[in-house]
Subunit: 280 residues, 2 copies
């Protein structure tokens, strides 16, 4: 497995691989890799990628001033070991300075899908995400890129960016990977105390309960479901940020929960903001 | 020579050309082609492009609400004839709708170089330019793209976009093409009455006078030169929009005119806004 720090060197290498007829997959991550990330590598293999490039970059432009950029967990050495074992063929560890020179001045904005949910609570977040993903697409020029469903809004924003800016890249989404307890894997889970981790289970419980109900009925009123989920989160000591039922394509609010609707949750366990979702 | 309307079809064709080892040049234009545009095709040939793609698109997102989008001159048939004769191998005539679907929502912003000169007078102009050029780069994925020096700020903004978003595209700039009178070629010259056209000569005259002076001295104070140029424009019946001396790289104002400084002019002849420049 190769590792790169310099965007230009990775770009030249990928250009050559592509010329040789190889099929390149890109998996953009912020590192501190867990089974969720590794499932993306496995999925890329199943899609017959011959080169699987995992980027590890805690991207400063997608963090707000009061967010956890500085304390976001990092462990490059462990990430390298995990990626090698999982079958990645190249890793990219850029630096804030070589991604964003001092006089950096170009940003990609998605205006609609970013206006709601996490985008409404984290101003500038999706601007940072779109910008860094556009950069990674141009550096690697992959045939496809893998993203996890846990960041479902991110996936939809990136799909929109790909459509609107005509990126020649397929976006593939892999299912959420969960602990046995149901908790969605996240690098941020490392912030949780034991008590917070127990509280956090309420999020996946609420979504599991909903999915079970939806096996029996084709529709439920979104208002009632949201109230029930909010109550369940609060009862378990969480501070809900949002609970929303949205059209999975447009992310517009939906009054009923039915096929094609995503139920999106963000909630704080202590100071740690967790997200999870289910698509009916 | 092939012609394309559909972005996806052009993208697929370019992907195949590139796989075959061809060298692709892109020349983005708004059509109503003149010798300035055709000089870009000639330059692309000299740079050994094996495919020269000329796009013709009056891009709505780079026009302000009170600008000349509707009346901007168009002549697709003549453009096809000229391009074929000049040696282009493909043309792209997208439509506003296939470039910007109804729920279009992604824009590329350059924040620094766009803040001055034409960018300061035409809010949103360079956002539209960056967005459409990013789209064209992703559709065609050219080895290099040719732009004319007449739109010098545009060239520098696009170079910045390429650097900051890591586009794998070389930007090449070709000199301004002028009528014998000195007037810089522009599709907008077609708006000019005979009297306005005579007035307009004052712009290139002022720049020629300056270049002649700079053959004899290595520096001139920018303030004095700007005053002289403004007076010359006004005397000839033009309404100056700006006359600025700027560092050719950063576009920051320069107090002296010397090597590496661009002198930039925008002025109205009647209702027609004309631009011209010289790089010392």
């Amino acid at each position: 497995m190769l590792t790169f720090n310099d965007p230009g060197k990775l770009q030249a290498w990928c250009r050559l691989r592509r010329q040789k007829g190889e099929k390149i997959a890109l998996i953009p991550t912020m590192g501190y890799l867990h089974e969720g990330h590794l499932s993306l590598i496995a999925a890329a293999k199943r899609k017959n990628a011959t080169q699987i490039v995992v980027s590890v970059f805690v991207n400063p432009t997608q963090f707000g001033p009061n967010e956890d950029y500085d304390k976001y967990p990092r462990d490059e050495k462990a990430d390298v070991t995990k990626c090698r074992k999982a079958g990645a063929t190249a890793m990219f560890f850029p630096t804030p300075r070589n991604m964003y020179p001092e006089d950096y001045s170009v940003f990609v904005n998605e205006d609609r899908l970013s206006a709601t949910l996490c985008g409404a609570r984290r101003p500038g977040h999706f601007r940072g995400v779109c910008t860094v993903v556009a950069k990674l697409f141009n550096i690697v020029h992959p045939h496809f890129a893998m993203f996890g469903q846990k960041d479902f809004q991110q996936v939809q924003v990136i799909r929109r960016m790909v459509r609107d800016l005509n990126f020649d890249v397929e976006i593939a989404m892999a299912p959420i990977v969960r602990e046995k307890s149901g908790l969605a894997l996240s690098s941020r889970n490392t912030y949780l105390s034991d008590a917070e981790r127990t509280s956090a289970l309420a999020i996946s419980e609420a979504l599991r309960t909903l999915r079970r109900k939806m096996h029996k009925v084709s529709k439920l009123p979104a208002g009632d479901v949201k109230k029930q989920i909010l109550a369940h989160l609060v009862k378990n000591g969480l501070k809900p940020d949002y609970v929303e039922a949205v059209d999975a394509e447009t992310l517009a609010p939906s009054e009923t929960i039915r096929k094609g609707v995503a139920v999106m949750i963000a909630a704080y366990a202590g100071k740690t903001r967790l997200i999870d979702n289910t698509i009916i």
